[in-house]
């Protein structure tokens, strides 16, 4: 049901019955290593190319989630997923392996919540019994496409971010036990004219602020309604900028309750500069870490705002600025749910 301008409130509250997160070697050294279902110590995952390794990440996460939910892959009606590589081939090939009816979605690093919002919408209206949704990225494959060859010695400025290697998926169903998706706000493209591909956090912050504001306004709730508002991959700079922007717009958020997936995933000592990014960043943190915390009862209501920078190497080279987007999904567990 549409509420306000661009927020869906789901009357049937679709359930996230199972989630899974797969990570690479860098994530294994990170802060959230315990929350992954599977960690690889080799970036290649034994495959011939990084793109193939990327595909394997998605497949593994999907199989893990289905096993946890006790589902055969034939029982899952739809797969809604995406990644960052050209034409989304890793996800396409994973969909070939999985053999499910498939909707490929692209929202850059906001793909995870875009997929979750769509899945919740479809299941809420009886469109499916089970939908598998997720997002993934592979550090080396993404670097290869968006930046330089992985072994190229180009110094990254302190504003740069580290692309997460991993995949996070969730299975959404109209019934079952687990955290429930209660609302979702679809973001619009916001472009504040920043053009530095090594400062994505700064570029994406206004998009996150725009979506958070719209969400709170549409639902007519206060920021304190949520135990945690978590942004996708704004990093250190983006988080600070968005926090200040929100305050400037009169939305007071407790700093403790405003976190960023890109800052949660790694340890302080890891050389990630401004934080993590990538489509997998919000996916593995929400589906791996936060859903687990909700199940443990530590968090009751969270708002996950995945942010995406909709650029390509081509658009950057043609001096285009970076258009950004953010999608917000409210997940609640316990209490009145």
């Amino acid at each position: 049901m549409l509420k306000g301008h661009r927020t869906w409130v789901f009357a049937n509250k679709p359930v996230i019955i199972a989630t899974a997160a797969v990570g690479g070697p860098f994530e294994a050294n990170g802060r959230l290593a315990e929350d992954f279902d599977l960690l690889h110590e080799d970036l290649w995952l034994g495959e011939e190319s990084y793109e193939k390794a990327h595909r394997v990440l998605i497949e593994e996460a999907a199989f893990q989630a289905m096993e946890k939910a006790g589902l055969e892959k034939e029982k899952v009606q739809f797969l809604i997923a995406g990644d960052l590589i050209n034409q989304m081939t890793p996800t396409n090939f994973a969909a070939r392996t999985l053999g499910m009816p498939y909707l490929g979605v692209f929202g850059a690093c906001s793909t995870s919540m875009e997929g979750l919002a769509l899945s919740a919408f479809i299941t809420n209206y009886g469109g499916a019994d089970y939908i598998l949704t997720g997002a993934s990225s592979h550090n080396a494959a993404v670097e290869k496409q968006f930046r330089y060859p992985t072994e190229y010695g180009g110094q990254k400025p302190p504003t740069a971010q580290w692309t997460v290697t991993g995949a996070g998926v969730a299975i959404v169903s109209p019934k079952g036990d687990g955290p429930r998706v209660t609302a979702a706000t679809i973001g619009r493209v916001v472009d504040m004219g920043l053009a530095d591909p090594f400062n994505m956090g700064g570029a994406m912050a206004p998009a996150a602020v725009d979506t958070i504001e719209a969400h709170l306004r549409d639902r007519q709730i206060d920021a304190s309604y949520y135990d945690l508002i978590v942004t996708g991959d704004l990093g250190r700079i983006g988080r600070q900028v968005s926090l200040d922007l929100l305050r400037q717009h009169g939305i007071d958020i407790d700093e403790e309750r405003y976190q960023d997936c890109g800052l949660l995933i790694y340890r302080d000592g890891q050389p990630v500069l401004s934080g993590a990014s990538g489509a997998a960043c919000s996916a593995v943190v929400v589906y791996g870490h936060l859903i687990k915390r909700m199940r443990r009862g530590e968090l009751k209501r969270i708002l996950a705002v995945a942010t995406g920078a909709l650029l390509s190497p081509l658009s950057f080279q043609q001096n285009e600025t970076i258009p950004c987007i953010a999608h917000a999904v409210a997940i609640e567990y316990g209490g009145e749910a």
Binding site: A33, E34, D35, L38, L39, E41, W44, E67
Partner: protein, 177 residues
């Protein structure tokens, strides 16, 4: 590493033992290269200081022992270059109508190396009109000429061999990049 639950029949954690082996091998190779180049440098310096001693000796004892190799012109060239303030070190040999002069320019004057070279070449040609003069400020030529001079006392060296060596150095000095 934590939280690894291999999925039966599907997921496998791929170890990188083979790669590690290779890494070790390469490291050893790199270490060897560094070690050898380090030694080489040391040797260079040692040898050079030895040569300096040699040069001193040949200089004081005089090189005119061999009647067929009268080093008069070479000594005159050395004497001339020694008094120039844009020459730090000099060594010269002559044989027949060939005069080979190698010198080093003080480092801060190397900026105008080309002009100094040209100037010295002109001056030497004027001083020794009957000679085919080859002069160079190149370090390699300097080393070679020194070596040659040190070998002059070697009884096994005859004039033919000596001339051959001079021609070789000459060719070297004319080589361009």
């Amino acid at each position: 590493m934590a939280a690894r639950q291999p999925f039966p029949g599907f997921a496998e954690i791929h170890k990188t033992n083979g790669l590690m082996e290779m890494k070790k091998w390469w490291l050893a190779a790199v270490a060897a290269i560094i070690a050898t180049s380090g030694c080489a440098k040391e040797e260079t310096e040692q040898k050079q200081s030895l040569q300096r001693a040699n040069l001193l000796r040949t200089h004081t004892s005089g090189t005119a022992k061999h009647a067929e190799l009268n080093q008069g012109p070479a000594e005159r060239a050395v004497a001339y270059l020694r008094q120039r303030d844009d020459v730090r070190d000099v060594v010269a040999v002559n044989s027949g109508d060939r005069l080979l002069v190698a010198y080093q320019i003080p480092h801060m004057k190397r900026w105008s190396r080309k002009q100094i070279e040209k100037d010295i070449d002109h001056k030497l040609r004027d001083m020794f009109p009957g000679y085919d003069v080859v002069s160079s400020s190149d370090l390699k030529i300097f080393w070679k000429t020194k070596e040659l001079k040190a070998n002059m006392d070697n009884p096994r060296w005859d004039e033919r061999k000596f001339n051959q060596e001079i021609r070789r150095i000459e060719k070297l000095s004319k080589e361009q990049t």
